[in-house]
């Protein structure tokens, strides 16, 4: 029995995730659960994960600037990084899905009513598989900021949405990548919902001269860590 309790104490640390209820982000008020969450013991049901998407990635899915007959308007960028598990090991051959607004800050989505132009050469959706070192790479354009109706004069900082699976149901993650030096970050309740300053920094990509291609595109680096290192039962008691 003591053994079983020990097993149950093993978990992934994700305490830097935002809370469900963050009233400054108005949509959380009616969507955040109020009853206490139930701790799920570690079983095959969540240490396994789907092999979703392998074989579903098309040749141009990782280049959002080449999915139409012409080139999209905007600042061409390369976004690359590694997907890692909590021990720093690469997550290989794993699906990465992204979506974003165009350079003017407009999504192709039919519910986006921001009066900024759509770009007929930009859909804003991409996917790729990580390589043997856990690396992904996308070519796209830098997304624009856009207004949203959360509060008076509310603007989202430029961001790219990332969806990742990892090797276990536990490690499934959807997050957003931001750009360094964006003055909107300190006004954005979604970014600020992550309370720890250092944890916030882990959502901001870094400009990377090595990734930057001369005469062609700026490079940004964004590494993604899918879960905290597995705590051992001993550590849980300290």
């Amino acid at each position: 029995m003591a053994q079983r309790k020990g097993e149950e104490a093993v978990g992934y640390r994700r305490e830097d995730d935002p809370p469900y209820l963050y009233p400054d982000y108005v949509a959380t008020r009616l969507r955040a659960p109020k009853k206490p969450l139930i701790i799920l013991p570690r079983t095959l049901s969540d240490t396994t994960a789907p092999a979703y998407g392998r074989g579903a990635v098309g040749e141009l899915d990782d280049d959002l600037t080449r999915q139409h007959s012409g080139e999209p308007v905007g600042e061409r960028i390369v976004v690359t990084g590694r997907v890692l598990d909590g021990d720093g090991r690469p997550v290989r051959n794993s699906l990465v899905e992204i979506w974003q607004a165009n350079a003017a800050g407009r999504y192709t989505h039919h519910l986006d009513q921001h009066p900024a132009p759509l770009d007929p050469n930009f859909s804003g959706a991409g996917r790729c598989l990580t390589d043997g070192e856990g690396r992904y790479r996308f070519v796209t354009v830098k997304p624009g900021a856009y207004p949203w109706k959360n509060h008076d004069n509310a603007w989202r900082p430029a961001h790219i949405h990332f969806s990742l699976f990892g090797t276990a149901f536990r490690s499934r993650l959807i997050t957003q990548m931001y750009f360094p030096g964006d003055p909107l970050l300190e006004h954005d309740p979604i970014f600020r919902s992550v309370r720890d300053q250092k944890a916030r920094q882990r959502m901001i990509s870094s400009f990377d001269l090595q990734t930057t291609r001369p005469e062609w595109a700026l490079g940004y680096r964004f590494d993604i860590v899918l879960e905290g290192r597995e705590a051992t039962p001993m550590e849980n008691h300290t």
Partner: protein
């Protein structure tokens, strides 16, 4: 030093073209003799339907085996055609729907057996991180009563939210994010 995890952020309202451009809501073909339909509606704390959510499911096959290398119980058959993964958006009526197979029982903690179940992630605007829940089956009363996860939920009303109900030819599993009748949600 081990790296620190990247925090979660909301899926937002504009994910459809990227994540739902292909239909992964049917895990088996429409004419599969063992196919079951699981459907439900998502409600917020005011009882309003949630029309911009995405629901993902993950489950074992009928033999109770997960299609993943970590499940190496080779004595159980593995159906290569059955991925065990599904994804459905919610529609204008707040409804999601899957066509799948009923999973077999799977191992639980400490050598116990878990009743057949489907694990579920819910993503939506206003959810800064996903919600995790489970779908259990109404025709498994004995297994459900012995299930270690269900048994760990002391609040009977909360526990009942995890058991789908029969409705016509389908199983219904409504999800209430908040308020009266809130669905039981898990953390790891």
């Amino acid at each position: 030093m081990s790296p620190e995890p990247t925090p979660s952020q909301t899926i937002g309202p504009f994910f459809h073209d990227a994540l739902l451009d292909r239909d992964y809501s049917e895990l088996v073909s429409l004419d599969h003799p063992e196919g079951i339909r699981i459907e439900g509606t998502i409600h917020d704390g005011a009882g309003e339907i949630v029309t911009d959510a995405m629901v993902e499911i993950w489950q074992a096959n009928r033999a109770g085996r997960y299609n993943h290398p970590a499940d190496d119980r080779s004595s159980l058959s593995l159906d290569e055609d059955f991925s065990g993964f599904g994804r459905s958006g919610t529609d204008a009526g707040g409804a999601f729907s899957f066509l799948t197979l009923k999973p077999g029982p799977v191992p639980g903690p400490g050598g116990e057996v878990q009743a057949p179940h489907v694990v579920v992630s819910v993503f939506a605007r206003g959810l800064l991180k996903r919600l995790v829940t489970r779908i259990y089956f109404p025709d498994e009363q004995e297994a459900n009563a012995a299930d270690p996860v269900l048994s760990s939920i002391e609040d009977q009303e909360l526990r009942r939210t995890l058991i789908a109900r029969n409705e016509g030819d389908a199983l219904r599993f409504d999800i209430h994010l908040q308020g009266e009748g809130q669905t039981a949600f898990f953390e790891f």
